[in-house]
């Protein structure tokens, strides 16, 4: 019998937690004993997900500067600290997808706001809590959800791909800088999934050919656990 201890009591925050990959992460983390706070924009969806999963629901928009600190306050207030932050909320930029020459500047700015600047702000606001967790021997991980569009030049994915490339590079640099504080940064691509975001981007794709977000979530959770100190070390700390 496998005893699923690595997640028990782990304090995790997930943005974009009411649909797709974020919802799958919240469900699995909560079911496996983690203490989870999640953020999403729509109050009714937040309430539904909170009731169903037992996680702390927080209403806020990662793309809105004034929402970030209230969000951080509610996350660390509810969980008493933070071990893991998953920056999952994403904006596609223009929908339907557009060629860069047809993309409005404001659409590119919005993608950067939600996919780069918002995660930067939230990570910065929560960095003190993450570093405190690392100092206490619990470990600290920031997972930034990336995409193969961050690496490959897919026509039509300009705003999204450029913003995800920026986020991936931000992760890599932050990972170097924060190593001394014991905070790890991961940038991972969950693959093409059957999610509302993907349906918005590629409505003609056959869902049967896409990954289930639950499978991607399980893989991301394993990567987070692997980046944390071993449970025994954490227990001693």
């Amino acid at each position: 019998m496998q005893i699923d201890t690595p997640l028990k009591g782990l304090r995790v925050a997930v943005t974009g937690g009411t649909s797709g990959l974020g919802l799958a992460l919240v469900e699995q983390l909560a079911a496996r004993g983690a203490r989870v706070a999640f953020v999403a924009r729509t109050g009714s969806a937040v309430g539904r997900t909170a009731r169903r999963t037992g996680a702390h629901g927080i209403v806020g928009d990662v793309g809105a500067k004034d929402d970030i600190y209230p969000m951080a306050l509610q996350i660390t207030g509810a969980l008493g600290g933070l071990d893991v932050l998953v920056n999952n909320a994403s904006s596609l930029g223009p929908t339907p997808l557009a060629l860069l020459a047809d993309t409005q500047c404001e659409e590119l700015a919005e993608a950067l706001q939600v996919n780069v600047i918002g995660p930067f702000r939230l990570t910065k606001a929560l960095f003190g809590a993450l570093a405190a967790s690392a100092r206490e021997g619990r470990g600290a991980v920031v997972l930034n959800v990336s995409s193969d569009a961050a690496v490959n030049a897919y026509p039509g994915w300009g705003a999204y791909g450029a913003s995800k490339a920026a986020l991936a590079h931000l992760s890599d640099i932050w990972n170097e800088e924060a190593a001394g504080e014991g905070v790890r940064f991961l940038s991972l691509d969950p693959g093409d999934m059957d999610t509302p975001l993907h349906a918005l981007a590629a409505p003609d794709d056959d869902p049967a050919t896409l990954r289930r977000p639950q499978d991607s979530a399980a893989e991301l959770i394993e990567a987070i656990v692997a980046a944390l100190p071993q449970r025994a070390e954490r227990a001693v700390a």
Partner: protein, 365 residues
């Protein structure tokens, strides 16, 4: 964005007084250079709540501002000790604000999305115990969205939450920022590490520091809950064993460490509540030095400094700060004061005084 009140971080200055009373002027960015390997820097990582809530006193319809000032219990995020103010805002010095409407037990206050019930009043003081309706989560959400950080009359721009969180702010339980922490950034923490200087944190729920009401201010500081992680208690023990110094970043760290200290200087990990005032007669069991703002005689923080240095030395330091234009207040320059001597014998005072007089011109940068 905070502007006028806050010197640019790289321009901030540090006035340091060592155990012998010698004074040095330094750019604050060079803080790590004043510490030695085996020293331990301890900071307060409490994040600051937006503790100022404006609204209406329902029985009279009069405007009211309440400032959450202390916890009744950290386990119950819906109940607070609060100070009431009348109409106006932070641009009016606290002392000149009109009194709040008369507040009695059982009264209700509408504070944006929150409703507060007055559970207890304190005689003539404009102090009350409040219960905010809802759960811990909904109260936290309401405070997060409706509350504003407690403002300072000397800072003209409204302060946002990002202005009052220190770089290492973690759990949101402070009512005013543990402002000595503004002196540090992550580059400074990295410089500590490179030098072999330790860095640890505790979480202390810094309460309101001043109300402008002398009757109330005489009661400050209120009891303040704190939490000391095992890793921090262990780091203090290692530092003491190695003969290093424990440097407290701010008065709240002194309060927590000394409250948790046993007679032998060991610090208990875990939760506690700091009560009472630290002053001239308080023996310091753990802290060897304090980094703090530039305080003036009469401020409550200044009294705590008397535990570190003689009145004469502190007066000399205050005069030095004044003469060289050090900026007081929460976002100003910093002072580092090393404890003069465990028992502050009379015999150490005169050499200290003479070094004071000898410092002047040579120590000016």
């Amino acid at each position: 964005m905070i502007a006028a009140g806050r010197p640019h971080a790289s321009a901030a200055r540090l006035l340091a007084m060592d155990a012998a009373g010698a004074v040095r002027h330094r750019p604050r960015a060079g803080l790590a250079g004043l510490f030695e390997p085996d020293d331990l820097v301890v900071a307060n990582d409490a994040a600051t709540l937006p503790a100022s809530l404006s609204g209406t006193h329902i029985p009279t319809g009069a405007p009211v501002e309440v400032r959450l000032a202390a916890w009744l219990s950290l386990d119950d995020a819906t109940r607070f000790v609060a100070v009431a103010f009348g109409a106006g805002d932070h641009r009016t010095p606290t002392e000149d604000r009109p009194p709040p409407p008369p507040i009695e037990s059982g009264d209700r206050l509408r504070l944006g999305p929150l409703v507060a019930t007055v559970e207890r009043t304190y005689g003539a003081l404009r102090l009350a115990d409040l219960r905010l309706s809802g759960t811990g989560d909904t109260v936290r959400a309401g405070v997060a969205r409706h509350g504003r950080p407690i403002q300072y009359a000397h800072v003209p721009e409204p302060l946002a939450l990002w202005d009052v969180w220190t770089p290492f702010a973690a759990r949101p339980i402070a009512f005013e920022p543990p402002s000595a922490g503004f002196a540090l950034d992550w580059r400074t923490v990295a410089a500590f590490r490179e030098r072999g200087v330790g860095f640890a944190t505790l979480t202390h729920a810094a309460g309101i520091s001043s109300t402008g009401d002398p009757g109330l201010d005489a009661l400050l500081p209120f009891d303040e809950p704190y939490r000391i992680p095992h890793a921090t208690a262990a780091a203090v023990a290692r530092t003491k064993a190695a003969g290093g110094r424990v440097i407290a970043i701010g008065t709240t760290v002194v309060r927590a460490l000394e409250s948790a200290a046993a007679g032998d200087g060991r610090v208990r990990a875990g939760d506690g509540v700091a009560t009472g005032r630290i002053g001239q007669e308080t023996p310091l069991r753990v802290t060897d030095a304090i980094l703090t703002g530039v305080h003036r005689p009469g401020e409550s923080h200044y009294e705590l400094l008397r535990a570190f240095a003689s009145n004469t030395a502190l007066e000399m330091l205050a005069a030095e700060a004044e003469a060289h234009g050090y900026r007081p207040h929460e976002f100003g320059d910093s002072m580092l004061i090393e404890r003069d001597h465990p028992h502050r014998l009379a015999s150490v005072r005169s050499p200290l005084l003479s070094s004071c007089h000898g410092l002047t011109a040579a120590s000016i940068p």
